[in-house]
Each structure stands twice: as structure tokens, then as C-alpha cells.
């Protein structure tokens, strides 16, 4: 078994007093370093046959189209050796175009959209590609500090080839003025690393007369050394 390379320091964010809820929820003891065993090298997958034809099109899951700006979000899932990862499960969830989640905990005074559940999923193809059609999520306030607003984002959950490649993150949009003010986005300290979470507008993904395109690649942990091809 070829082990996965360790994640460099500074990639995954530490606790951050600016994001107040982290203060009592991140461990204070140092993590205990252990070797990778068969338990960590293997990992979960999902029964791909349950994934339906419109599961990656959040605009066609109800009787009518949702309100909002239709967008295409496409990219690849890669490992940090640059190898595409086929058959990864990519799941998303997001607020509607008014900045409201279809979730009972969300009390923001913005309308729900009966034609938008805000969840999608797909499996990457042989080149590691995924594609979603959705609507651009709205901004919304949260209770972290006075006048706190989240930049527009889509939550991404990725099940890659093993337990160690599991990633949950958020995709942001280019040029959002709320990004410099957001403690969650800025919990990743290094600006170069932080920018990996920001998608790019892509005119080639943009469909004439129909939807803007945003491109975003997701990079998971890779192996120490790529085994020679048989």
C-alpha cells in the first residue's frame, strides 16, 4: 500500500477566535501522529446507481425553475500529484438566490423558493470532471459579530479514493466584496492557499443566452509516490 503524503501545515485552518464558535469546538491537545493502515488507506464510497439524472441539475428538481441567476459550475477532482480522480462522489448544498437555506434551522428573513432544495450530487468521470447546473447563491447574515454577512458560497463534500482524502469545503465566487470580511474564508491564513477556494469565471463554460460558467478544481491528498503503471 502506497501511503498518502502528509498535508502541509497551513492548508486546513486551525481554530480561529474571529470565528467564535471554533473556540470551544477545536481540540487543544496536540493531534497524535499515527501510521497509515489499511483502515485509513481504504475508504467509503456510495452506491452510484442511486444517483439520478437530475441530481446534478438543481434547476430541474421541481415542477418549475427556481428564481435566480442560473450558473454552470464545472471542474475536476485531482490529487496533489495532478492526477485526475475518476468516480469521486461530489455532493453540494447551498442557499437559494435570496440567501436562504431550505433547512429548519435557518431563520433568515428571506423567502424560501418552493422550486429549490439546494442540494445536488454527481460522480466524476474518467477525467475527474464534475458539472453542476444551479443558481447563484445569495448572501446572508449570520450571528458571528455585528453586521456579519457570508460571502456567496456553495458547500462541497467530496468522497475520494480513501478515508484520508475526505474533504468538506466551500467554493466561493470571484470578486465578492464580503470575502475580506469573512472569518470562515480568512481562517485559511495564506492568501495563495485561500485563493484555491475561489472559482473563476469562464467564458468557455458560459452557455450563450442561458447561463454564466464558473470553473473550480478540487485537489485532494495524493500518494507519496505514484506506482509504476503495469
Amino acid at each position: 500500500m502506497v501511503p498518502y503524503r502528509r498535508v502541509p501545515a497551513g492548508v486546513h485552518p486551525p481554530e480561529d477566535p474571529a470565528y467564535r464558535s471554533t473556540v470551544l469546538r477545536h481540540p487543544l491537545e496536540p493531534l497524535v501522529e499515527i501510521p497509515q493502515t489499511i483502515s485509513e488507506i481504504t475508504g467509503p464510497s456510495y452506491p452510484y446507481d442511486v444517483i439520478g439524472a437530475v441530481d446534478n441539475d438543481l434547476t430541474r428538481q421541481h415542477a418549475a425553475a427556481p428564481i435566480g441567476e442560473r450558473i454552470v459550475v464545472e471542474g475536476r477532482v485531482l490529487d496533489d500529484n495532478g492526477q485526475p480522480l475518476p468516480r469521486a462522489l461530489v455532493e453540494i448544498w447551498q442557499a437559494n438566490s435570496c440567501g436562504r437555506y431550505a433547512h429548519e434551522v435557518d431563520r433568515h428573513d428571506a423567502p424560501l423558493d418552493p422550486n429549490f432544495s439546494g442540494t445536488g450530487r454527481t460522480i466524476t468521470d474518467d477525467e475527474g470532471r464534475y458539472r453542476f447546473i444551479t443558481i447563484k447563491p445569495g448572501h446572508y447574515p449570520w450571528g458571528n459579530h455585528y453586521n456579519a454577512w457570508r460571502p456567496a458560497h456553495i458547500h462541497f463534500s467530496v468522497l475520494g479514493p480513501g478515508f484520508l482524502t475526505r474533504l468538506v469545503t466551500q467554493m466561493y465566487f470571484p470578486g465578492d466584496p464580503l470575502q475580506p470580511l469573512d472569518p470562515i474564508f480568512n481562517s485559511v491564513r495564506d492568501p495563495e492557499v485561500r485563493e484555491r477556494m475561489v472559482s473563476s469565471f469562464d467564458i468557455d463554460l458560459t452557455i450563450p443566452d442561458w447561463a454564466l460558467g464558473f470553473r473550480w478544481d478540487i485537489v485532494l491528498r495524493g500518494r507519496e509516490a505514484t506506482p509504476a503503471l503495469a
Binding site: T37, S39, V105, S157, S187, R196
Partner: protein
């Protein structure tokens, strides 16, 4: 090398995602082995239950086989058991997870690891997932387990589920404090 995408919190609304996963069950009819329930709470540094945490589990089947191409020992894993479970905590931080008691699995090099379940802990206010393991108090193999022995003895108890009643094991996940659960860097 390409830079790894950073982790972000799952936030409070990941229930939307879990609703979409509702059709998938970890344990199907006909699965081999002993059915067990894992129950416990996820607690913050003030001892308060975290009501918006997401637990994900990964484990071998009753015979110690993983449902994965890289478990390349002869034979096959139980087709009625996926090994992948998840649970959303309730209002007091409580969770319940129905699964199968895993079998022992090989250790790196030689020997075996005691039966265990890998756990990812995520949640609102948790920026990156934290990884821990659940072991079982009634397994004699714990004493020789190569991972448990790397954990300072005074903290090992945080990784061991107690037999609460027949078929039910209790395991709390404590994010901070004197009984803070051991989390791993793997």
C-alpha cells in the same frame, strides 16, 4: 505538485445533504455479524452538547474486510454491509448509529489491529474534520493494538466504547477539556 484545497466548516445546514443520502443504508438485510448501536454525545469545551455536529464512520465488516478495491486479500467483503455510516447530532449533542461489530484487521507489517471504527467529526464551528477511532472495551486484542499503544496511556480510555447494555456501546466525543478525545494526525 498541485496545492490541496483547504477544508471549511460544514456549517449548520448540512442536514440538507443528509436528506439527499436517505436512500442509502450501511447495514442491509442479510448482513453478517452482530448488529450493534453506537450511542453517545458530542461535547464542547464547556461540556455542552454540540447539536450541529456530523459524525461519519468507516469500518471493516464482521470478518475484518473493507468494501474497497485496496483491500486485496483473497475473498470478498460482505455485499450487505458498506462500512460507511453517518449521523447528525440531536439537540443535546446526542447521536445514534446502527452498525455491525467490525472484525480485526491487519496491522502494518504484521499482526492485527483490534476491532475499531474510524470516525470523522465535523460541525458548525469546526473548520476541518477531526479523526478519531472507536475501540470496544470487551476486545482482548486492544492491549496489543499498534495504534492504541501510540496514545499516552492516560488518554487511551477516550478511544474505548463502553458496553452500555446488550448490543449498545456508549462513546462520547469530547472536543476539549480534561477528557478531550484523542484525535489523530494521519
Amino acid at each position: 505538485m498541485t496545492g490541496i484545497t483547504p477544508s471549511q466548516t460544514v456549517g449548520p445546514y448540512f442536514g440538507i445533504l443528509l436528506r439527499a443520502r436517505a436512500e442509502c443504508r450501511q447495514v442491509k438485510d442479510g448482513a453478517c455479524g452482530t448488529r450493534i448501536v453506537l450511542e453517545g454525545r458530542v461535547l464542547d469545551g464547556a461540556g455542552v452538547g454540540i447539536n450541529d455536529a456530523l459524525i461519519e464512520t468507516w469500518q471493516a465488516d464482521a470478518n475484518g474486510r473493507y468494501q474497497h478495491a485496496e483491500d486485496c486479500r483473497p475473498g470478498t467483503a460482505d455485499p450487505n454491509f458498506s462500512g460507511f455510516g453517518w449521523a447528525h447530532t440531536g439537540k443535546d449533542g446526542e447521536f445514534h448509529l446502527q452498525t455491525i461489530k467490525p472484525g480485526p484487521v491487519p496491522a502494518p507489517g504484521r499482526g492485527v489491529q483490534a476491532p475499531h471504527i474510524l470516525v470523522s467529526v465535523m460541525g458548525r464551528g469546526i473548520l476541518t474534520r477531526f479523526i478519531t477511532r472507536i475501540y470496544f472495551e470487551d476486545e482482548p486484542a486492544n492491549s496489543g493494538d499498534p495504534i492504541l499503544t501510540l496514545v499516552p496511556e492516560a488518554r487511551r480510555h477516550t478511544l474505548i466504547a463502553r458496553r452500555a447494555r446488550d448490543g449498545v456501546y456508549a462513546f462520547d466525543i469530547v472536543m476539549q477539556g480534561p477528557h478531550e478525545t484523542v484525535f489523530f494526525d494521519v
